[in-house]
């Protein structure tokens, strides 16, 4: 049980980090990034390839590019950079003045194509089998700590990284930069007419979100030692988004609650405790149906989530909102 709990802590930390990263892009900047999971995958594959060593030798059973043997903590830094680079390239293409629904379609297609390409090209990241036997960070200390102790130490490491990411996000969240992003999200022409260079700001938040996603991917592989296309289907992005929408867009603590409910309480626990029904795979498919329904229910009954964005108050006695169309 202790082993399972420490695994859950790592999953939750990585999922939460990813959710905060996507919230920056989607909640703050309004970018409908349905390709978010690709950034996490970029970080995960990068972590794997820079720790597995050169392709061939003991890992001859799998093929990959950029084989290296970087010492801790460099693989995590490189995985964050990889997420950032993919975000930069994709952002330069998609974040032009393009209608948001078209943007969403481009992101979705990119996510689908990326999985197909990586699955089909065996030389890239070992195709659909994915990469396995990825070394865990500082694996040498496993001997003295034991597997359980090591895993709790890793969980603590993830929690610390998570806290560092939260500190960064909260600092950014208080800034004029974040306010300018929200302004451009609501009305880009009006924001630009006030001197805000919206495209540049949006690219910046896109890259930062991509780096956080890449880091979360690296942290996940550091635990599970394997990564394959089955783990980063486009639908995974919707699970992250459901957590954000359920918890409260643009509220860091709301996102935390939503991510816990969707990614941990719902997905992990149902997988563990609910009996399999019907034919094999039916229960898993039903989980996605319920996630879709959950999204609709939240948007209908509580569109701003469980813990909505906090209103900035400067006036002690604000009046009640007036009806639209009144004076």
């Amino acid at each position: 049980m202790s082993f399972y709990l420490s695994t859950i802590v790592v999953y939750f930390g990585a999922d939460l980090m990813a959710a905060w990263g996507l919230n920056m892009q989607f909640g703050w900047a309004g970018v409908p990034n349905f390709a978010f999971i690709v950034f996490q995958a970029a970080g995960a594959y990068t972590y794997a390839t820079v720790t597995l060593g050169p392709s061939g030798g003991v890992t001859a059973f799998q093929h990959y590019i950029f084989g290296a043997n970087l010492p801790f903590p460099l693989p995590f830094i490189v995985s964050a950079l990889a997420g950032g680079v993919v975000a930069l390239v994709l952002g330069l293409i998609t974040l032009r003045p393009l209608r948001r629904d078209y943007q969403a379609a481009v992101f979705l297609l990119f996510a689908v194509i990326a999985v197909d390409v990586v699955s089909a090209d065996v030389n890239l990241f070992n195709g659909s089998n994915g990469l396995a036997a990825v070394p865990q960070p500082l694996a040498g200390i496993q001997n003295s700590l034991g597997l359980g102790g090591y895993q709790w130490l890793y969980a603590a490491f993830v929690v610390v990284i998570c806290a560092a990411v939260l500190t960064l996000i909260r600092a950014l969240g208080r800034s004029g930069w974040q306010r300018a992003l929200r302004a451009a999200r609501d009305d880009e022409p009006a924001a630009r007419a006030l001197g805000i260079n919206a495209p540049v700001l949006r690219l910046q938040v896109f890259v930062i979100g991509g780096m956080i996603a890449g880091l979360s991917g690296g942290l996940l592989v550091g635990l599970i030692s394997a990564w394959s296309p089955g783990g980063w289907q486009y639908s995974e992005t919707f699970a992250v988004l459901t957590g954000i929408i359920l918890g409260g867009i643009s509220n860091d603590w709301g996102v935390l609650i939503g991510t816990f409910l969707v990614q941990i309480a719902f997905q992990e626990l149902t997988a563990l405790f609910l009996p399999q029904i019907g034919y094999p795979g039916l229960s898993d498919a039903l989980v996605w149906v319920v996630i879709g329904l959950l999204w609709l229910v939240v948007l209908y009954f509580r569109p701003r989530g469980i813990w909505p964005e906090r209103r900035m108050r400067v006036n002690n006695a604000p009046p009640k909102p007036v009806e639209r169309g009144g004076l």
């Binding site: 004029g176 609501d186 900035m312 604000p318």
Partner: protein, 264 residues
């Protein structure tokens, strides 16, 4: 608050605030503005009138940078801004409102002003990653000004309402108040009184006059002749993408150009 700095005023005294020459705006095969020209000296409120489709909003867009001019030039205080993107023009002092009030719905009224008030330096990622003391100082200055402007516009009581919670008239007032946070040199107002209750129309007119008195030039697109006659020092008439008359309200009205434009 709205006074131009003495050194700026002294350095640029020879130039018109705005000098537009032979501007053409095309949308596909349609030419919305066909070689329009106008000049505005500060402090002046200039009305831009004409029937629907005359090219008024397109001309405003060409001046603000929302539409690219296919030819001609837009010169602000002696500086050619024709090829500059809208945010660069805004930084130089061309600030505008839109036909549909461009209030940021997810920001409170106060934040709507703050986002304009911290300026481009306060909106950078570098500033966001800087020290808290720096950012607090910058925000404090903008907050003080935002409060002052909201009080002058008599809308301090709605400071904490989100843009989406405001009425049509309040949205207009917030949008105009927000412009003043940027210390504009030229204010472009696109139909600021449309859908606004009569008592607020008067208030918008009064604010325009006050803004002019602080040394800012205003170019206003407006359909209400009452508003135009009350606040404008000069009226420019457009029809079919061209400027067909320019002068004081009474003179333009008597010249028949307005009748001609609206009946054409």
């Amino acid at each position: 608050m709205l006074q131009a700095r003495p050194d700026e005023a002294a350095g640029r005294i020879d130039h018109a605030v705005l000098d537009v020459r032979d501007v053409r705006v095309r949308y596909g095969g349609v030419e919305a503005v066909s070689g329009a020209a106008l000049k505005i000296e500060a402090p002046q409120v200039v009305g831009l009138i004409g029937p629907n489709g005359a090219g008024k909003s397109s001309l405003l867009a060409a001046i603000g940078g929302q539409a690219q001019s296919a030819s001609g030039s837009v010169v602000l205080l002696g500086e050619d801004v024709t090829r500059l993107p809208p945010h660069r023009r805004a930084r130089l002092g061309i600030i505008r409102t839109f036909q549909t009030a461009g209030v940021f719905d997810g920001l409170t009224a106060f934040e709507n002003l703050l986002v304009a008030g911290v300026g481009e330096e306060g909106s950078t990622l570098r500033a966001a990653l800087g020290t808290r003391a720096q950012s607090r100082r910058r925000t404090q200055a903008a907050s003080d000004l935002a409060r002052q402007v909201l009080e002058e516009f008599e809308i301090w009581h709605i400071a904490d309402l989100y843009g989406r919670e405001l009425s049509g008239g309040q949205r207009r007032l917030v949008e105009i108040a927000r412009c003043l946070m940027r210390s504009p040199k030229l204010l472009l107002l696109d139909e600021p009184t449309v859908g606004v209750a009569p008592h607020l129309v008067d208030r918008i007119g009064e604010h325009c006059k006050r803004i002019r008195e602080s040394g800012v030039a205003i170019l206003i697109v407006e359909h209400s002749m009452e508003v135009i006659s009350t606040i404008c020092d000069r009226v420019i008439v457009m029809a079919s993408g061209q400027v067909i008359d320019d002068g004081p309200f009474d003179v333009v009205m008597q010249s028949g150009s307005v009748k001609e434009a609206y009946l054409a």
